[in-house]
Amino acid sequence: MKKLFRFFKNYKKDMFASPIFKVFETISEIAIPLLVAQMIDTGVANHDAKFVITYGCIVIALYIVGITASILSQKFAAKAATGIAYDIRKSMYEHINTFSHKELDKFGTASLNNRMTHDIARVQNAIGSFLRIILRSPLILIGSIICAMVIDIKLSLIFIAITPIIVAIVLFTLKITDPLYNKAQKSLDKVSDIARENLQGVRVVRAFNKQADEERRFVVASKNLRKTGIQVTNISSILAPLTTAIINFAIIAIMWFGGLQVNIGSLSQGEIVAFVNYMTQISSALITVSNMIVSLIKAQTCAKRINEVFDTKPSVVETNTQPIEIKKDPLTPKIEFQNVSFAYNDGAKYAIKNLNLKIMPGQTIGIIGGTGSGKSSIINLIPRFYDASQGSVFVDGVNVNNYSFHQLRSKIGLVPQKAVLFKGSLKDNLRWRKQDATMEEIVKAVKISQSEEFVNELDGKYEYKVQSGGKNFSGGQRQRLTIARALVGDPEIVIMDDSASALDFATDAALRKAIKNNIKSTVILVSQRAGTVKNADQIVVLDGGNVVGIGKHADLLKSCPVYKEIYESQTK
């Protein structure tokens, strides 16, 4: 939590004002039982109606002060808490944007999203309640105890004894029930999982005529859920009656010992009433405090998870932000890998081992290999999603590490393996690479990617609203649009990472033909299909991170058994 204090600086005033106003409310609350005791003891005892009315009015005035102060306090607290949350989210998002894929892999999007939404919300609420409670509950607690002590020291010992007991009971119950909750949760997960399994595998279950068995399996799980659920609530539902009972026993003690004091004349009846009132006040304050402790402990773990994100430094760093002068020389390879080895993590298995490869300007190069052979890893190094563990990657004869991100990445048009589009209009999506692309440029790219036909059938054509992820397109359409997106603005290097997998052979072939005829860029085709890379100027065959063959189709068929195996399995 401490590390997050730096986000408090913009809200110092609010964070100060909120508890202060709360103090006003609290003071009025503590004063009221005292005043009422006075009303009873002095007013009623002396039959002084005027005294009673005056005090009654003071009590009402105090309530009005109380609620005004309280509303103001809540307002400041809400402003500070949500403002801090806003700042944390903003700064966290900016920080995440500096991450390279190594860091993103480490956390995973789902986890980062949870930290961004859930954890920060937890912290926000903890701050809010902390601001409101921090002074109030202890003040009520201490104030009540002090007032009690002022009235009668001995009797107030009951208060001092009761405080730790209740806090201990609350924390103890929470501790015991915690593992039980986990158990109950697991049973619920099981029920939920069996349901999911059966929905997903409905065809298999029915094909194998296993409905009755699956039902039996489910019934066992749901019975188990009932049992663990009942078990946990049996214990947890003791808490509320127990604390109430303890408070009431304390009141009994006050009555008895107070009675003794009254008998010897050191205490009045009204003071006993006040004592009882303080006890009720204390009880709610005590439970508030124990709950705040629990919520702070929980917020603490959230804060830790948030800090983990802030503490992670990006591994791929931009060392130069200035553009570099490039010498145009047809003999310099467009892309060159020199002794490149790469592992996703230090000490992990190499995904690429000692790769040497030259790609000349305007060449089309195919990369082929099975799953896990290192195909995607190679292309990840070109736009610096990751940095090579050993060796260097050059683009236009310059080490990629010496480029600014902008200069390097603006050369590249990437079609990722997973075809996703983003929420917004189709036109906006196609303008990702070049924000000011003209319609002509866009239409040209759409034509090459074989998407024109279906784009023209869309409602509103280029203004068509794309849903998040591009869900309102079929897999094949989406893939073609991601190709179009990469081609807008004529990138120098086009990288297609297995980007035709959802296309049928005919469309795939037409697409490759269109690219060949219209694009002058250097093209890298990554594929599992031999047909896709067959006509490339160079084919790189990968197997388990090693390059096992580089050359043209005909040569590789003779010299590279892995290539031959892939090709034959797909065509014979």
């Binding site: 509303i71 998002y93 900016e94 939404t117 997960d189 349901a195 919520s295 996703y344």
Partner: protein, 671 residues
């Protein structure tokens, strides 16, 4: 009343559980695995998750001071689920009153728990509100110096002790019976729901999102018991507290009681107003949180694209817009939700002051004793609390109505047409005939029209065509997952609709592209169709399928547990296991759907070999993605846009120079 102060009611406990679940379901940081960047598909939709989380995170606090985001799950799901949900929901919308009665039917079997819970609730309230009365009476015997009646005081103290103990025990029993009842009802509803899943026509399951069905089963049922059991008992509890308090104070002093009762509509209105306002704000906040999470997953999950297209600046801008909106709505909702406590304190305070004033005057006139005034004060002090609790459970009850409508919508789906009276398909000759078959998923969109095909024993039928051409439709009809709209399909000379589904499906072995394994050992998965198979049989089947070699390399061989998502197996390995499953059963006919991608060459060859071995001498239907594997088929059905456009052997189709010819040649094209 200590209601809702600590996580002791079933509801609070569930919130707790949900929170823990959410925390537990957070993905572990995955090292060295770039594929894991994508968020794992969760049961709960990404937008629903953080919102419900947020809701959880705020429970368990006190005095409802922290009552944040009380949006019910069902609403969130509706927000995020989109069309599919409505499709199912439109099947039938049960009426409000009838849904309630139908839920009550679930309680009927446990009526004694229901009655006990109400009885205990009533009894504990009685004891609970007697406590201040007894305290007041006791105080009356502490008049002043030398004027304390210890005998009477002791008598009241003993009475009080009895009362407190009785209250605590009864209170616990109230909670327990209510909890037991809801768990028992839940169990029954879960089972009913699951049984329904097994009985509905397949088109229902295909036509709705699985996540939605699952959430109807888990979240909605939880909402129902929360609202109807916990909610109703709380309601009853609070209601009886109010009534009894009113009765008690009327017995003590009529004018003061009248003042207290007058405060009732005011406090009810105020807390209703705040509750409604907060609910609205929470919904807005939940929606914005969902938006944020959606944007986050979209942009960070696809960071490669963002980076290479240099979209970072625009991405930060987009996030900031949502961030600002979220801050605004959460500030407002935090403020409003925290108003409940101070306003009720204020109203209570006014009441308290009024009662104090009046009480003092009555005491001066000797109408009331000091102890009675103290009793009245403590009643006044807690008078508005049950109103807050009631308004709180009010939204739960509303949510329960919505949820039960959603649950019954599923339970009301008609079952598949019963085949109990039909004969079994006994003798299997291996012949299949499609006679003038017409079929469509949606009535006005014809898919298959007038399909005729006769398959004799041992023939191999291949189905080819571009992606999404409807190849799997034929499988659906053959297995009678769906019924034909017109014409008939005959297996072994019998119309499939005239025999038991069980007996028909037994004739077919099926391997689908989307492999399905369940969370159990490899052995159990292979023996799925023949649970009594011996280890040796399982082993032989695996060997035949070519799966034995990789199973041996697994940490515990055949006893290795297949993890939840089957992460510990590759796609190809999963398919080999499914083939092994069939190898064990040796059905007379086969349906195979070839895998398209994500399988490395070696495994692919293994699968192909296994397929061929299994098909030997059997009537088989193969959905092919790679034309090279099916050239030897007896009949090739070429499908496009749902229609069979060509039909014949490889040679015939090539000679025809039609669609198949082009398709076949495109894979050898020079571009």
């Amino acid at each position: 009343m200590q209601k809702r102060i600590l996580p002791t009611t079933k509801k609070d406990e569930k919130q707790f559980r949900k929170l823990q679940k959410a925390i537990a379901s957070l993905p572990k940081p995955s090292f060295n695995n770039p594929e894991k960047i994508q968020p794992t598909k969760n049961v709960i939709t990404p937008t629903a998750l953080p919102a419900s989380l947020w809701q959880e995170s705020n429970k368990g606090y006190i005095e409802s001071e922290e009552k944040q985001l009380r949006v019910t799950d069902s609403e969130i799901i509706l927000d995020s689920g989109g069309k599919k949900i409505e499709r199912v929901a439109n099947i039938k919308k049960p009426k409000k009153r009838t849904t309630f009665l139908r839920v009550l039917k679930y309680a009927k079997k446990h009526w004694y728990l229901f009655a006990l819970s109400l009885f205990f609730g009533f009894a504990n309230t009685l004891f609970e509100i007697s406590i201040p009365l007894l305290i007041g009476r006791g105080i009356d015997y502490i008049v002043g110096a030398g004027n304390v009646d210890f005998d009477m005081l002791l008598k009241y103290i003993l009475l009080l002790i009895g009362c407190i103990v009785a209250f605590a025990v009864l209170k616990w029993l109230t909670n327990k019976t209510a909890n037991d009842l809801s768990y028992k009802m839940e169990e029954q509803m879960h089972n009913d729901m699951f049984k329904k899943f097994n009985k509905v026509p397949l088109k229902i399951i295909d036509g709705s999102s699985h996540g939605d069905l699952q959430s109807r089963m888990v979240n909605d049922i939880e909402n129902i018991t929360d609202g109807f059991v916990t909610g109703l008992t709380t309601f009853f509890d609070c209601f009886s507290t109010i009534v009894m308090t009113v009765v008690f104070i009327f017995m003590i002093n009529v004018p003061i009681a009248a003042v207290i009762v007058c405060a009732t509509p005011i406090s009810l209105l105020v807390s209703l107003y705040i509750a409604r306002k907060t609910n609205k704000l929470f919904k807005r906040q939940a929606k914005e949180l969902g938006d944020m999470s959606g944007t986050f997953v979209e942009l960070i999950g696809n960071q490669k694209i963002v980076k290479v297209f240099e979209y970072e600046g625009r991405s930060i801008q987009r996030f900031d817009d949502i961030n600002k909106k979220l801050q605004d709505s959460s500030r407002k909702s935090m403020f409003f939700s925290t108003l409940t406590a101070p306003t009720s304190r204020f109203l209570n305070g006014l009441l308290y002051a009024a009662v104090a004033l009046m009480g003092c005057f009555y005491a001066m006139d000797g109408i009331l004793t000091i102890g009675t005034v103290s009793t009245l004060l403590s009643y006044a002090n807690r008078y508005t609390r049950p109103f807050n609790a009631i308004t709180e459970v009010f939204s739960d009850i509303q949510a329960a109505f919505a949820s039960s409508a959603r649950m019954f919508a599923v339970l009301d789906i008609p079952d598949e047409i019963s085949d109990a009276n039909l004969p079994s398909l006994k003798r299997c000759t291996g012949t299949v005939a499609f006679k003038n078959v017409a079929f469509s998923y949606v009535p006005d969109k014809k898919l298959i029209t007038n399909l005729n095909l006769t398959v004799s024993k041992g023939q191999k039928i291949a189905i080819v065509g571009p992606t999404g051409c409807g190849k799997s439709t034929l499988i659906n009809l053959l297995m009678r997952f769906y019924d034909v709209s017109d014409g008939s399909i005959e297996v072994s000379g019998k119309d499939v609709r005239t025999v038991k589904r069980r007996s028909l499906r037994k004739q077919f072995g099926m391997v689908l592209q989307e492999t399905w394994l369940f969370n159990a050992s490899i052995r159990d998965n292979i023996a799925y169709g023949k649970p009594n198979a011996t280890d040796a049989e399982v082993r032989r089947a695996a060997k035949n399928a070519g799966a034995d070699f990789f199973i041996q390399t697994m940490p515990e061989g055949y006893n290795t547990l297949i993890s939840q998502n089957g992460d510990n197996l590759s796609q190809g390995q999963k398919q080999l296991l499914c083939i092994a499953r069939l190898m064990l059963m040796r059905p007379p006919m086969l349906i195979l759907d070839e895998a398209t991608s994500n399988i490395d060459t070696r495994t692919e060859i293994a699968i192909q070999t296994a397929f061929n071995k299994m098909m030997a001498g059997k009537t088989s239907f193969v959905v092919a993605h790679r034309l090279s594997t099916i050239t030897s088929s007896d009949v090739i059905l070429v499908m496009n846009k749902g229609n069979i456009i060509e039909q014949g052997s490889h040679k015939e189709l090539i000679a025809k120079k039609g669609f198949y010819y082009n398709l076949y040649n495109s894979q050898f094209s020079n571009y």
